[in-house]
């Protein structure tokens, strides 16, 4: 299973202990958070890395990234900061059978 991580307002945020999320109407993005004693409706909207969750009327931006997206984002940040070589990690272990780039190629 993909290792997704969430950031809310720029801060890494974990799931709350004891709460679960279940869909009420997936086609509309309506879900329910419950901890067995209490529950509340949520609205979940988004795609890819950018999500918005409406909780108690407040619409909160949530960034969800996979391990691969986090690695690429960190690499991009390092490149912007250092302006030098970037280490690119493979998302899965395996054997490299070809390298499609060579020294001097432009990377955008």
């Amino acid at each position: 299973m993909t290792d997704y991580r969430a950031r809310v307002a720029g801060e890494a945020t974990e799931r709350p202990d004891g709460w679960s999320i279940e869909w009420v109407d997936r086609s509309e993005g309506i879900a329910r958070a419950t901890n067995g004693d209490a529950s509340l409706l949520l609205l979940i909207e988004g795609d890819g890395q950018a999500w918005w969750v409406t909780v108690r009327g407040r619409r909160v931006a949530v960034e969800i990234r996979s391990w691969r997206e986090r690695v690429l984002a960190e690499a991009e940040t390092s490149a912007q900061v250092a302006g030098g070589p970037v280490t690119v990690a493979a998302t899965l272990p395996g054997l490299i059978v070809a390298v499609a780039v060579s020294v001097g190629d432009e990377v955008e």
Binding site: W23, V55, R58, R59
Partner: protein, 502 residues
């Protein structure tokens, strides 16, 4: 106008407005057996209100100045449609005496007070003078236009509020705390008033603080009868515009209520009055009331009065416009329980209630006992920035105030609006706020207690994270068997619904 006492008051009415108030009037028309005719700008051709009517007349391009504010276009539409009367709703041309005259000159009935009344009370300075002459207390200040000589402002005493004589809706208003800020504030208020109303006349009132904003609903017939239909408390405001209204007011004692009603009656008696109007007052901490203005139209918050009185104010506007006399059940209604209205606006309460724009996503309004929603908003539609950002009015009614607040809290928990930030988070917070729970709030409530809102709680932050993770995980799972469209797309939503049906 009515010719057969058993038939509808009019055969056909044109509603010179849009959005939720147009839908509200359309519903009243249908219940009275009247054919409702809508008007629409190009931007509203496929809107809810245009579709709700029997037919809709195009009145111009999206810009309100060339459509909903065009007297000629609206009167032409009324004549084209064969309407016998025009209901102006609120805002737009509803308090414009030239419009009321144009409607009547075209041989149609204007569903509202007479044009002379709109004229007399539309000018806030003239209204202040009329109220004062009727023995009604007014907010200390000037009763003549403020000129370059500012000695009258010194006499009033700071802080003061500069106000536009032709004003309303908070435009042309400036609070001034010290004499050195007066000149700039006067220039700004005049500019804004000139731009908004075509009249830069301003006057000055002393700031009454703390104060409650309490208003009295009036309904008069053409035979001289006047019904006083209780008060509404509208003290929770941002930028001098109301967000929450309730009836009865938690701040009004029976003695204060009697004094407010008497003052409202006196103000109405200064003019020839029939149909619906509201007299607005400030109430200070000692329970003294001061006349603010009289709005000669239906108010946005009229539903609160309807819930506690059991009366259909829009229907009665139409019936008295047709000449019907108010019966005893309206002149002396029995009030029941407590009602609260909250306005759901496309505004970001975490950014100073700044307007938000975009496409409405999911749209789920509450239901159940004692809940009423007046709206013309639909899911997956673009929000029009040309018009008012009001998305819905959510009203609740219960046996007493604590029960009404509990019902409002429940209703807001069921409310989900996607696509953009709304003020629903503020409203939900309000229902747990101690000053609101006890009814001990005033017009400074939002500045004092909300500001830019509380930080997101740890629980809500982590629930948001969990929900976002579930959204993405679920999207990925579905993409295992098919490329699922994104959850923000209207086409995507339709496709998902189709897929669920098949």
């Amino acid at each position: 106008m009515r010719t057969d006492s058993n038939g509808p008051p009019f055969d056909r009415i044109l509603i010179a407005n849009r959005g939720e108030i147009a839908v509200r009037v359309i519903r009243a028309c249908r219940e009275l057996g009247i054919s409702p005719i809508a008007v629409h700008s190009d931007a509203d051709a496929d809107s809810v209100h245009a579709r709700a009517a029997d037919r809709s007349e195009r009145i111009g391009p999206a810009a309100a100045a060339e459509s909903y504010l065009s007297i000629e276009a609206v009167v032409d539409a009324a004549l084209r449609s064969g309407a016998a009367a025009v209901h102006p709703g609120y805002g737009f041309l509803s308090e414009n005496p030239a419009f009321a005259r144009a409607v009547e000159s075209a041989g149609l009935t204007f569903i509202g007070p007479p044009p002379s009344t709109l004229e007399a009370l539309g000018n806030k300075l003239a209204a202040r003078r009329a109220a004062e002459s009727a023995g009604v207390p007014i907010v200390p200040g000037t009763t003549v236009a403020l000129g370059d000589d500012t000695s009258s402002v010194d006499a009033v005493g700071f802080p003061v509020m500069l106000k536009a004589a032709a004003g309303g809706g908070g435009r042309g208003m400036r609070r001034v705390d010290a004499v050195e800020d007066l000149r700039d504030a006067m220039a700004g208020a005049r500019r804004e008033a000139e731009a908004a109303f075509g009249d830069g006349t301003i006057y000055v009132e002393r700031v009454v603080q703390p104060a409650r904003h309490v208003e009295v609903q009036l309904l008069g017939d053409r035979h001289g009868a006047l019904a006083i239909l209780g008060e509404r408390d509208c003290s929770i405001q941002r930028r001098h515009q109301k967000l929450v209204e309730e009836s009865p007011s938690p701040a009004v004692t029976p003695e204060v209520r009697a004094a407010l009603f008497e003052s409202a009656r006196r103000v109405a008696e200064t003019v020839e009055f029939h149909n619906a109007a509201t007299v607005e007052f400030l109430l200070d901490a000692a329970g003294r009331h001061y006349f603010l203005e009289m709005n000669t139209r239906l108010q946005v918050e009229h539903g609160v009065t309807e819930l506690v009185s059991g009366l259909d104010l829009v229907a009665w506007q139409i019936r008295v416009a047709a000449g019907e006399a108010l019966p005893a059940s309206v002149l002396e209604p029995s009030f029941r329980g407590h009602a609260i209205e909250v306005r759901i606006y496309a505004e970001d309460p975490y950014a100073g209630f700044r307007p938000t724009a975009g496409r409405i996503g999911a749209w789920r309004m509450p239901e159940g006992p004692g809940v009423r929603v007046d709206t013309a908003t639909e899911a997956w539609t673009e929000l029009r920035t040309e018009y008012d950002p009001l998305l819905a009015k959510l009203m609740v009614h219960a046996t007493d105030r604590p029960s009404a607040v509990a019902r409002l809290r429940r209703a807001l928990d069921e409310t989900l609006v996607g696509g953009l930030q709304t003020d629903a988070g503020f409203l939900r917070w309000l229902t747990d706020s101690p000053p609101f729970l006890t009814g001990a709030y005033d017009t400074g409530f939002i500045d004092e207690h909300w500001g830019r809102g509380p930080e997101l709680s740890e629980l809500d932050r982590s629930l948001s994270a969990a929900a976002g993770l579930e959204g993405r995980r679920s999207q990925g799972a579905r993409r295992g068997w098919a490329e699922a469209p994104d959850l923000t797309s209207a086409w995507g939503s339709a496709a998902r619904r189709d897929a669920l049906r098949s």
